[in-house]
Amino acid sequence: MRTFMILLMITIVFAPLGAGGSKEAPVAAAQGGSLAWIEGPSVHGLPGVNPLKVSGNIITAGSSTVFPLSERMAERFKEEGYGGTITIDSIGSGAGFERFTVAGETDIANASRAIKAKEIENAAKIGRIPIEFRVGTDALAVTVSKENTFLKSVSKEQLAKIFSTAKLWSDVDPTWPSQPIHRFIPGTDSGTFDYFSEEVFSSNPEPLLAAANLQLSEDDNILVQGIKGSPYAIGFFGYAYYAENAGALNILAIDGVDATSANVDNGSYPLARPLFIYSDAKIMREKPQVAAFIDFYLSYVNEEVVGVGYFPANEEILQKGRQGWLEAMKDLY
């Protein structure tokens, strides 16, 4: 009797758990291939988007550098009538690719570096073929506090010293103060970190990570706070975070080249780097809202990119992305 009761209770208590555990919410079926949201004249060769007719959720994750741009595009998408939810997780390019290519949880990966061969391999294992869409260019900003009076320009060699073995500023240049260097850099999982160690340390992050007084964070605002806090602090992140805090931070010229739009365009700024979003043809075809958002993104990104604090990619590369979209949606559009 007693055993029976206990068994009964167990069944009652755990039955809902069991049912909940096996929930594989059926993915909203593609709406018969009809892209109802296509409306109006085409923009740069892509079909016009009416966000009012787009429904369903979009999940994106990745680079904290691309985040402000994707966020702005998502806001505009919503302002123009999109009723669903766009999730944008700012977790670093590496983590974004991880979610996109291994777990397969996201529809779009934001990245401040190109996808790696290993990540393409991983994606293939879950049946995804990443398509690259270039959305802009970032000038990686090496910044110091406004209170810092001795730094205006650094060479790449000096950067390598500042961010590794030098303990005091005077170790790099005897005319600089003999004060300890405080370093604030993006976490190891960010594309910015990868990019910096590639450019300045030939892809070997060891000296960078072994430096004293080092603080790492995936949250660029924490870095901004830290750099603001001391005249002897230095750090780097995407240009947008500098633009947002230009009142408190000074950006350094690299090898004498300022991070201006012209210098980024002609490639003379040494730390200019591409910004991407990635998706996959199958996702775009199954979830028309993803295709719509990317269409919208590629159509209007140049109108927003400067406001966010980045630089437009050149037209030829943008067009390549649009071509990629058209190929992915072949037959449907």
Binding site: I91, A95, G187, E206, N213, Q215, S217, E218, G229
Partner: protein
């Protein structure tokens, strides 16, 4: 049917009593199962970490550098920062909490207590993220204005520690007040009868009698401070560093875990596995503290009859 035991009043137990009893039992069981589950996962994932040939158990415990990505696995910088913030928190939280408790249970009138206790409870209900920003935007500037910008870094363990002290204060005060309140009235009356003043009674008689409960309180508060995450993640700093200077930035065990998991690193990387090993260390520390706290309160628990 004969083997069913009879109820004390001679009635057969009713079936719905059985049902309720089973439900309660199941929920009690559930909490144990969850604890066990956490322990098992921590141990299993930590095993992955320690089975990495680069990681030695001894090196893990004694190494002075923590940077898993480039193969430096010494827990000391993280552990040191955790201890510094906790010690600072305790040195603020214990005295103030104890004074508040003594005041509330021995001196305060009912009216004052009626105001003070709810205020303390409000303090206990503030989310830790708010405390974190309080540390970063109030405590740190305060410390910097006292000791100078050059001495106090923007992220520092002192500010985080002090705010954790404020965080655990209501917990200490409430539990300590319970412990003091549990001391029988006869002891106090006996002390007064022998001519002791109120202060003498409190310090010489009541506090020693409540010592077991108080030590248990302090240990629990310590384990709370060690496990505190949000405040240190925001205010203590984000780079592992072995430094005994509380005005410098350093990263605690919990701070590292939250930084790595918010960046959501690749699964199966050493970084990812390392947070489980650190979690296990925290689990062992707080578990031990809680056990010791229980032991102490049982060991020194005096019966006053």
């Amino acid at each position: 049917m004969r083997n069913i035991p009879l109820h004390p009043f001679g009635k057969r137990p009713r079936i719905h009593e059985r049902i309720i009893e089973s439900i309660l039992f199941l929920f009690a069981l559930l909490s144990i199962v969850i604890t066990l589950g956490i322990a098992i996962i921590l141990i299993r994932e930590s095993y992955l970490f320690f089975s990495d040939p680069e990681v030695g158990f001894w090196g893990f415990l004694t190494g002075k550098e923590w940077q898993p990505m480039i193969g430096r696995f010494g827990i000391l910088p993280l552990l040191n920062a955790t201890l510094i913030t906790s010690v600072i928190a305790m040195s603020l939280g214990i005295p103030i909490g104890l004074f508040v408790a003594i005041y509330l249970s021995e001196y305060a009138s009912d009216k004052t207590r009626g105001i003070l206790k709810p205020v303390l409870e409000v303090l206990a209900g503030i989310p830790t993220i708010v405390y974190g920003y309080f540390a970063l935007t109030f405590m740190t500037p305060l410390l910097r204005s006292i000791f100078g910008d050059g001495t106090v870094e923007i992220y520092n363990t002192a500010s985080a520690g002090l705010v954790i002290g404020i965080l655990v204060l209501p917990m200490i005060a409430t539990m300590a007040e319970d412990a003091i309140g549990a001391v029988p009235k006869e002891l106090r009356l006996a002390a007064y009868a022998l001519g002791a003043t109120k202060l003498e009674t409190t310090i010489r008689v009541v506090i020693p009698a409540a010592l077991s409960g108080l030590s248990a309180t302090f240990l629990l508060a310590l384990s709370r401070a060690i496990g505190e995450t949000m405040i240190v993640a925001l205010a203590a700093g984000a780079g592992p560093k072995l430094s005994f200077n509380p005005f410098r930035a350093a990263e605690t065990i919990t701070g590292y875990i939250v930084r790595i998991s918010s960046g959501d690193v690749s699964y199966n990387s050493v970084d990812y596995n390392s947070i489980f090993a650190l979690g296990l260390v925290l689990f062992v520390i707080t578990f031990t503290l809680n056990m010791v706290s229980r032991k102490i309160s049982n060991l020194f628990h005096q019966e006053y009859d």
